[in-house]
Every structure is written in structure tokens, then in C-alpha cells.
């Protein structure tokens, strides 16, 4: 091929990355879509692996029609060679030289080999991951992250037990509870620590998000039908079991966010799906030197970061659900197509997506504040023996000692003194918990690499994946 078309590397093939790839691919850009999963779809559209032959995947799944449109669009672009999809590639670093980018990715689940893709622009659509705050017993097998339960269920069609409790806080608990119930688990309780009731009554807001409203109603109806008891202003204060989860203690919370004495009761269960919200993936952006705003990657109205040639879309730029990710991805893809061709985009061309973006953002801001209205003094329930850093097995007692006796005043010092956050996951799972127990501010950690990389890979010069069109 002689014609030079600009190459855009889109990292992440969830709603944001897919929308971006389709938008850019339709507008003269050659897109390399890179994702760590075997299939392009991300979290929201995750569905049973093809080998499972699901004839009715929508039973565990929402907004199937949007997904089918995206899938068809992607297939068209793949066939026309406008988009290349590199699956099973875990991007660990993006390098920038004066004009171009090199995306380094480990291959397959083994992750012993690295490949590199050269591109003129990079679009980060890596989504987010779950926040789970520690409590006694949270390391017992059978206790899983709420989204993790959802992922195994939607992707592998498996349940790890018969009786589930879904607990924590945030809107993700609803689809997880209905998903487990639809799959045949008995959901003994949905335990939500706040009381988002005021939000439910906020009809003006709901009217701005009709799709979410129907989704919420579907979930709620299903829970009612399945006789799931929904306990708001309650918390799971402890998980019990020896080799695996056997039961949980649930307690009501008072106005101060403390368990009310006498309200504790045990619920027998063999699955506890627990989650306390989500955090954006920011490491690749951070490595590129992009500005972060608190926990999220900064992006302007065109979804550009402050580093030229780097766009960001979806939950990397703030948690807000699949509809927002689609809108941001579409805008980012169109902006990248225009800018990489040397032009200036006309925002009027993406006005509907911009309106959807504004709507979704204000909806999620309201949702977030509704869930954050009441204090939950969860740190007081974390006993000194509770492991807070799962990888390095650091207890809350050790963290408290680092702060109290040794005078650590920030997360970094706590980490150096206790090793909390130094293990495999690089603090992704424990940071919010350690920060809470230590009473330190939660700032996104600076991670040199987005994935643990074998030393041999760092030492070897990377193999270059031939980028089409070069």
C-alpha cells in the first residue's frame, strides 16, 4: 500500500473504544484496536464465550441491540481493513517520541512476549476497575468483587455457590444481584450501605435518563419478583468461614454510619459479591505525562488529553456508565480522525453525542452524590487483624502503627513502611482501603508500568507488530 493513512491506536475495546474505532475508521483513519481480552466488548457488553453456545445471552445482559450495531459496524470495518483488532494484548506502556507513539503490549495470558505497535495518535479507552473496601473476612474464598461475579457469570456462565449476598454500595450492585438471581442463585439479601431513596424520588433527574430508568425498573422488578430482601443503610461487617465463606454478619447503620448495637444478624451464604464503586484506569495516561484530575484522566470537549496526539474516552476519564462511554468514544474518534488528518473538527457534527454526554454526566453526578449522602464509618469496623493489602498480607494494625507510632502522613510513606501496595496488583485493590485506614488522602499512585512485566521483556528489544499501512 502506498497511500499513507494516519494510524490511531485505540487501547481498550469496551463501549468507548468500540465507538471510537468505528467513528475514526469511517473517517479515513487506520485504526489498531488493542485489548487484553479475547473478544472485543469490554465490561458492559461482556457475554458468554462463543464456545458456550448461548442462544439467549440477553437473559444476563442489557442493551443487546446497541451491542449488535457495534458488532456489525466492527465487522464491516475489519472486513474492509480499516480496523485491525489485536486481542489478548496487555498494554504495559506507551512511548512517545517527537511525532509518533509506540504501544508496547504483552501477548496472551502467558505474558512472556511483548509486541509493539507504532501509531500517529493514541486513544485511551481502558475503562475502570472495582473498588472494594476491606472488612474482616474479605479474603475468604467465596468473597468476590461484585463486578467479578458478574464477569464470571456473563462470560463463563458459572456460579460459585447456591446462596449469594450482594453488598457494598453503588449502582453496580443492582445488575449483579439480578444477574445472580437470573442465573439461579438464591440472593439472600442485597445490602446497600447508603439509602439512595432520595434519588429514586428525584423524578426530574430520572426523566433525563430514560434508558437508565427502564434498566433500573427492570432490575427492581426482578428483585421483587425473586423476593430478594433489599436492606438499605445496612452493611456487611464481617464474613465468616474457615476454608471458604459460610456466612456474613449484617448490621443496620445509624445516622452517623455506625452499626446499631443489637441489629447484627448472620445470613448463611456461600457467595458474597461485594463492591464499593469504581475507579478509572489511569496508568497509561500517567505514563504518557497526561494531566490527571483527581482519580481521572483530564479530557477537553473533544476528549483530548493535554498531551498532543493522545485522546481519552469512557471510564478512564471518570466513572459514568456505558452510555457515557459510547458518547465520549464517538466524539474522541471523530476528533482524532480530523486532527490526525491535519484538520480541525467541527463540534456541530457530533452535537447529539455531546448532548448525550452532558446528560449522562449530570445523571451520574447526581447518582454519585445520592450514594454519598450518608457517612459510613467503615474504617472503625476494620479490626487490627484484618488484612488490608491482599497481595502483601499487610494488616490494618500494621498500617495504623505506621501512622500512629512511626508518623507516616501519606500513602507513599505507609507503603514504604508496611509494603502495602507493593505486591502484584501494585496497590490497585488495596489503595482505597489503606488510605481509609491510614486516614490519608487517596491519590492515584504513579505506576511506571500498567502491567507487571517480566525482566526478560524489559531487557529485550520488542518485536514489532507490522502495523497495516506501513
Amino acid at each position: 500500500m502506498t497511500e499513507h493513512r494516519p494510524v490511531l491506536a485505540v487501547i481498550g475495546a469496551g463501549p468507548a473504544g468500540l465507538a471510537a474505532a468505528l467513528a475514526a475508521g469511517s473517517r479515513g483513519v487506520r485504526v489498531v484496536l488493542i485489548d487484553s481480552a479475547a473478544e472485543a466488548r469490554g465490561q458492559f457488553y461482556r457475554q458468554p464465550a462463543p464456545g458456550l453456545g448461548a442462544r439467549r445471552p440477553q437473559a444476563l445482559h442489557h442493551q443487546r441491540r446497541t451491542w449488535e450495531r457495534l458488532r456489525a459496524g466492527l465487522d464491516t470495518h475489519l472486513a474492509a481493513d480499516r480496523v485491525t483488532h489485536l486481542s489478548d494484548r496487555h498494554v504495559w506502556c506507551v512511548e512517545r517520541d517527537s511525532t509518533r507513539f509506540t504501544v508496547h503490549a504483552l501477548v496472551g495470558p502467558e505474558q512472556e512476549r511483548s509486541v509493539a505497535v507504532r501509531a500517529d495518535g493514541v486513544l485511551l479507552a481502558t475503562g475502570g476497575y472495582e473498588k472494594v473496601l476491606p472488612f474482616p473476612g474479605w479474603t475468604l474464598p467465596g468473597v468476590v468483587a461484585a463486578g467479578g461475579a458478574q464477569a464470571l457469570l456473563k462470560g463463563g456462565l458459572v456460579l460459585p455457590g447456591r446462596t449469594a449476598v450482594v453488598a457494598g454500595t453503588g449502582p453496580l450492585l443492582l445488575p449483579v444481584a439480578t444477574g445472580l438471581s437470573a442465573a439461579g442463585a438464591r440472593v439472600a439479601a442485597l445490602v446497600e450501605s447508603t439509602a439512595p431513596g432520595a434519588f429514586v424520588r428525584h423524578t426530574r433527574l430520572w426523566s433525563t435518563a430514560p434508558a437508565k430508568l427502564t434498566e433500573g425498573v427492570v432490575h427492581a422488578t426482578r428483585l421483587l419478583r425473586d423476593k430478594v430482601s433489599v436492606l438499605t443503610r445496612h452493611t456487611v461487617s464481617e464474613a465468616h468461614g474457615t476454608e471458604r465463606l459460610e456466612s456474613v454478619t449484617v448490621a443496620a447503620l445509624d445516622a452517623e454510619g455506625r452499626p446499631v448495637p443489637g441489629t447484627e444478624r448472620r445470613i448463611a451464604c456461600d457467595i458474597l459479591a461485594v463492591g464499593h464503586g469504581m475507579l478509572p484506569h489511569t496508568d497509561l495516561a500517567d505514563g504518557l505525562g497526561c494531566r490527571l484530575d483527581g482519580p481521572r484522566v483530564y479530557a477537553d470537549d473533544e476528549q483530548r488529553t493535554d498531551v498532543p496526539g493522545v485522546w481519552a474516552a469512557g471510564e478512564t476519564t471518570g466513572i459514568g456508565g456505558a452510555a457515557l462511554s459510547l458518547a465520549e468514544g464517538h466524539i474522541a474518534g471523530r476528533s482524532a480522525a480530523a486532527r490526525l488528518a491535519g484538520g480541525v473538527p467541527d463540534p456541530r457534527e457530533w452535537a447529539p453525542a455531546a448532548r448525550a454526554r452532558t446528560r449522562s454526566r449530570s445523571f451520574f453526578a447526581a447518582l454519585e452524590s445520592a450514594y454519598a449522602t450518608r457517612p459510613v464509618r467503615w474504617t472503625e469496623q476494620v479490626t487490627d487483624e484484618t488484612v488490608v493489602c491482599r497481595c502483601e498480607e499487610v494488616t490494618a494494625g500494621a498500617v495504623r502503627e505506621a501512622v500512629g507510632t512511626l508518623g507516616a502522613g501519606d500513602l507513599r510513606t505507609v507503603k514504604l513502611l508496611t509494603r502495602a501496595g507493593m505486591g502484584w496488583c501494585q496497590g490497585r485493590m488495596c489503595e482505597p482501603g489503606v488510605a481509609g485506614v491510614a486516614g490519608c488522602e487517596l491519590l492515584p499512585a504513579r505506576r511506571m508500568l500498567a502491567r507487571p512485566v517480566p525482566l526478560g521483556v524489559l531487557a529485550a528489544s520488542a518485536e514489532h507488530t507490522a502495523t497495516p499501512g506501513q
Binding site: S36, A38, Q43, P48, A49, P50, G51, L52, G53, A54, R55, R56, P57, A59, L60, P109, E110, Y129, E130, V132, T139, L140, P141, G142, V143, V144, A145, G147, G148, A149, Q150, A151, L152, L153, G155, G156, L157, V158, L159, P160, G161, R162, A182, A183, G184, A185, E243, R244, V387, R390, C391, E393, G423, W424, C425, R428, M429
Partner: protein, 99 residues
């Protein structure tokens, strides 16, 4: 209770893999974590310090709690590795390099 039912799944032929020398059935497309879960196994690792049992936690490759030894190679994330016929899966003790 069968999560295959609501999705009306008609999977391809099941195959077997071994977990600590015992045979376990898996369905095409499942990860090792999913196959173990489906057979009622929820832990397949012990921690380095406390020797505590661990299995899957985040389910999406972030937490590294689900590490397992596959065909002699330690420290693979069971939630990411696809199950394949004849795979030899072993409980991972500590760092996986202890023996």
C-alpha cells in the same frame, strides 16, 4: 440451579482437565477460573506468609489473587487463561517457586 439455562446455552462438547490430579470437566470458552468454580473449587492458591487459601476475587485480571500453576508454569491468572483439554492445573503454594 444452572446458569446455562436462562441463557439457553448449548455449549460444545465438554472436555476434561486435571486439578491437583483429579479430573474436572470444563466447557469450551471457559477460563480456568470459571471451570474450577463450576466444579465447586473456589480456592487454588495459598498465600506466601499466612498460607491462607485464595481464589478468584476481581475476576478481570486486576487483583492477582487467582494465581495458579498451569502445566508447570506458576503465577498465571486463572481468570484470564482459557481452559484447554488436558491442562494440568495445580494449587499454587506461596510464590509458586518453593519446591
Amino acid at each position: 440451579m444452572n446458569p446455562l439455562k436462562p441463557a439457553r446455552a448449548h455449549p460444545g462438547a465438554p472436555f476434561t482437565l486435571t486439578f491437583d490430579s483429579r479430573e474436572i470437566e470444563a466447557l469450551p470458552g471457559q477460563t480456568i477460573a470459571a471451570a474450577l468454580w463450576a466444579s465447586g473449587v473456589t480456592s487454588w492458591r495459598t498465600t506466601r506468609d499466612g498460607g491462607r487459601a485464595r481464589g478468584v476475587f476481581c475476576g478481570i485480571g486486576v487483583c492477582f489473587d487467582c494465581l495458579v500453576t498451569v502445566d508447570g508454569r506458576p503465577n498465571l491468572r486463572a481468570c484470564l487463561v482459557p481452559a484447554a483439554p488436558g491442562t494440568d492445573v495445580r494449587t499454587q503454594e506461596g510464590t509458586g517457586h518453593d519446591d
